[in-house]
């Protein structure tokens, strides 16, 4: 278990998203990383049915890296790490939480290993429309357990891959001295998902208006 940093790769106007992803993978292989399987994350959205509730959404996420675990995250970043049985419990809670199937996100991609680093390059898409929202790269440094100890290392690695300077996300900065846990990775993914979803929706609405 190590520290992960999830970076959003911005779209290039000249390239399609698939080309961007292929380019990223190629760059990783040139670095010397070896492909070691697939990576898959899905995110179900459950809308609270209680009116005026402060926590309006519950995100239920699964990560192929943790095959027997489900992460249920609320808007307030409260995370419940549990067995996969929670999927069935959420079905029972239908009167309280409704599954918003059209908002379900998933990201698929490849996993690469390079010594102590693990890279996961994935494309994010809405399951209902199959349109690609963005490309995410997760860089994981395995030997470290706190984010603060390996900022520089991660930053150097990410900048090396992307070829430009990047800022460390606030989420990691706040938790620089805490023990890093898998749910921190999921929180980062969720943040990116929400941002991508928002920009996609705004795009769709602007297209509809025009």
């Amino acid at each position: 278990m190590g520290v992960s940093w999830v970076v959003n790769i911005p779209f290039d106007e000249n390239k399609s998203s698939q080309q961007l992803l292929d380019g990223l993978n190629q760059r990783l292989t040139i670095l010397g990383a070896v492909k070691s399987g697939m990576h898959y994350i899905d995110c179900d959205v459950y809308q609270s049915q209680v009116p005026h509730a402060s926590q309006s959404c519950c995100y239920l996420m699964h990560n192929s890296e943790y095959p027997v675990t489900s992460f249920a995250i609320l808007d307030s970043h409260t995370c419940l790490t549990s067995d996969n049985v929670i999927d069935l419990i959420m079905m029972k809670l239908r009167p309280l939480y409704e599954n918003r199937k059209n908002l379900k996100l998933e990201c698929k991609g490849s996993r690469f290993t390079l010594q102590d680093f693990v890279f996961k390059s994935t494309s994010v898409q809405l399951t209902s429309t199959n349109s690609i929202l963005g490309i995410l790269l997760e860089v994981e440094y395995l030997p470290s357990v706190t984010a603060g100890n390996c900022y520089a290392l991660l930053k150097e690695m990410v900048e090396g891959i992307l070829g430009k300077s990047v800022e460390i996300p606030n989420y990691l900065k706040i938790r620089s001295s805490e023990l890093y846990s898998p749910n921190d990775t999921m929180q980062q993914y969720l943040e990116h998902f929400n941002l991508l979803k928002k920009s996609h929706l705004s795009q769709v609405t602007s297209q509809q208006q025009s």
Partner: protein
């Protein structure tokens, strides 16, 4: 004759019965008279005659009571018994009649007794039969699980209660024998047809070298046809059920082996054909596991080969048994609400967000399949045989340093080791040793320095290794001797590359000079071509006369080496010969 006797005699003559009749006739007369009076006279009282009769009897009673009262005082009157003289005359007749009556009674009695006897016998017989059935059923219940289903008694042969998950139900039916046989017992069992007969599993290891395909190695495994029984063997059902249970066990074992043979990934795939699993142990070695099931007992007796390997015989039994045991006995503690099976670490894997690589490492290393274990055991059998044969062969051929072999007592089917000590007779302090370990289908040799060398299943490799160790020992012996005898060791190399190369291994060598440095001795132990001992002595003649040589040290220059013919030297063995030679060099003994 007394007066009283006379009176008694007279009294005997009185027939009271006659008098009674007279009385009754008188009474009748009286009644008739009364009736006549009644007829003559007008009726005064309808029960007059009864009153009269009662009055007369009352009078008689009065008289009698008076008589008795007088007789009580025994003054005026005495009651006396009447003599039996009269009865004596009738005794013979009475005896006859009495006898006859007794006889009749006895006949009736005996008839009745016989009747009762018969009835009793019948009831006892049936109850005895019933009780025999129950006692035998009780004995059966002590050995087997049986239960009553409707009108039938069904037993269970399977190992399900012991943790087996085999599909076969393994039920049998118990019923009462109809025909009574003296030694047959009251119970018989009916088995399903597929469990009848006897079965065994045979494991044999074949060597299939290209030259001859004859199997040299043959380890036969037979699961015993019948487990030893503690109960009386006269119970036919016991032997029958034991055999059937053995069949079910062998079936389960074989089906498990077949399944695992399909699953197991190996470089050379294992073959499953009909009732045989063929496993490749090493190139040229195959293991055949055969399931033999014969329905008739005669056939089974013919087919059973007498050879059996007790280790493998135990092994297959124990492996499946251990698997049964493991399926029942889980690691404790586990919460009541959780399902039985996963370990604590696996249960906590979800909430702890365990990664995939960690989950893979949770796989129990002890949950190796039965087939993998038996393959390892088979390999060990082959390797053990190879090692022992090679060492025996070498111990016989190499006579100079002695090879002492000590096999480890703490060995099992998967691990065994032996220690070989190399010594010379009467030079026990100079010794060298190495350990040969056979573990999980691999042979490793561990030398004195602790370096492990893995060897293959071919005997040549082991032979080479031992030969190399022997040559090392010989040079070491020379080194030890020269240090104790006071010679100077100039060089000592384990692996000298100064001479022509051997076919295998490296030749150790040693160079020793005498204590004054005038002469030198070189020994080389070649692994193949044997020992070479070379000597060089101080050059003859006076060097200092030459004007070119100014320093005295040049006088110590030695001549070129000459080889010593060790065969012609005196001495018991090489070490002894070297001791003699070195003692000359050390200057302690004059040549």
């Amino acid at each position: 004759m007394h007066l009283s006797d006379n009176l008694a005699k007279l009294a005997q003559l009185i027939d009271f019965g006659e008098k009674k009749e007279e009385d009754s006739s008188k009474k009748e007369d009286l009644i008739n008279k009364d009736k006549a009076i009644e007829a003559k006279q007008p009726k005064i009282w309808p029960w007059e005659w009864l009153r009269n009769a009662l009055a007369s009897s009352l009078t008689e009673m009065d008289v009698l009571s008076d008589c008795l009262a007088i007789a009580k005082e025994k003054r005026l009157m005495v009651l006396d018994k009447i003599g039996n003289d009269f009865s004596e005359s009738k005794s013979a007749y009475q005896l006859v009649t009495r006898r006859q009556a007794m006889q009749n009674a006895s006949v009736i009695f005996s008839l009745g007794a016989e009747k009762i006897k018969g009835i009793h016998k019948e009831t006892v017989d049936s109850s005895q039969k019933q009780s025999e059935f129950y006692s035998e059923l009780w004995a059966l219940r002590q050995q087997w699980r049986i239960k009553r289903v409707g009108q039938h008694i069904i037993g269970d042969l399977s190992y399900k209660s012991a943790g087996s998950a085999f599909w076969h139900k393994g039920t049998f039916e118990v019923f009462k024998k109809v025909s009574i046989q003296p030694s047959g017992g009251a119970i018989d069992v009916r088995l399903p047809p597929e469990l009848e007969g006897s079965a065994y599993i045979q494991v044999s290891i074949h060597m299939t070298s290209p030259e001859d395909s004859i199997s040299k190695l043959n380890a036969m495994l037979t699961v015993p046809q019948r487990l030893p029984t503690l109960v009386n063997s006269s119970n036919r059902w016991q032997t029958k059920l034991d055999a059937a249970q053995n069949v079910i066990y062998c079936k389960e074992l074989f089906s498990q082996l077949c399944r695992e043979a399909f699953k197991l990934n190996s470089s050379v795939s294992h073959m499953v054909a009909n009732n045989q699993v063929i496993i490749h142990l090493f190139p040229g070695f195959k293991m055949h596991i055969m399931f033999v099931h014969s329905n008739t007992e005669d056939k089974a007796a013919d087919a059973v080969p007498p050879v059996s390997d007790p280790i493998l015989q135990l092994a297959l039994h124990q492996l499946l048994r251990a698997q049964h045991y493991n399926s029942l006995h889980r690691d404790l503690p586990h919460p009541i609400t959780s399902s039985i099976g996963p370990t604590k670490r696996r249960r906590l894997a979800g909430p702890n967000a365990t990664s995939r690589s960690e989950l893979l490492s949770y796989e129990n290393p002890f949950q190796e399949s039965v087939l993998e274990k038996i393959i390892d055991m088979g390999r060990n059998v082959v390797l053990r045989l190879m090692v022992t044969e090679t060492i025996e062969h070498l111990a016989l051929t190499i006579s100079d340093p002695l090879l002492h072999i000590h096999t480890d007592g703490l060995s099992d089917a998967l691990n065994s080791s032996l220690r070989v000590t190399i010594t010379s007779p009467s030079y026990d302090l100079i010794k060298s040793w190495f350990i040969i370990r056979i573990c999980k289908g691999k042979v490793t040799a561990i030398g004195k320095s602790g370096i492990e060398i893995s060897l293959s299943h071919e005997s040549q490799r082991l032979e080479d290794y031992i030969m190399w160790q022997v040559s090392q020992y010989q040079i070491k012996a020379v080194y030890r001797l020269s240090t104790t005898l006071g010679c100077n060791v100039l060089s000592y190399t384990y692996n000298s590359a100064s001479y022509q190369a051997e076919v295998f291994g490296t030749s150790p060598s040693i160079l020793v000079s005498s204590s004054d440095g005038s002469s030198a001795l070189a020994v080389r132990a070649n692994t193949v071509s044997g020992l070479e001992v070379l000597v060089s002595e101080k050059a003859q003649g006076d060097f200092l006369t030459d004007s070119l040589i100014t320093d005295k040290k040049w006088a110590l220059l030695r001549q070129s080496f000459r080889q010593v013919d060790m065969d012609k030297m005196t001495g018991r063995n090489f070490t002894h010969k070297m001791e003699l030679l070195l003692s000359v060099y050390s200057g302690k003994v004059k040549p």
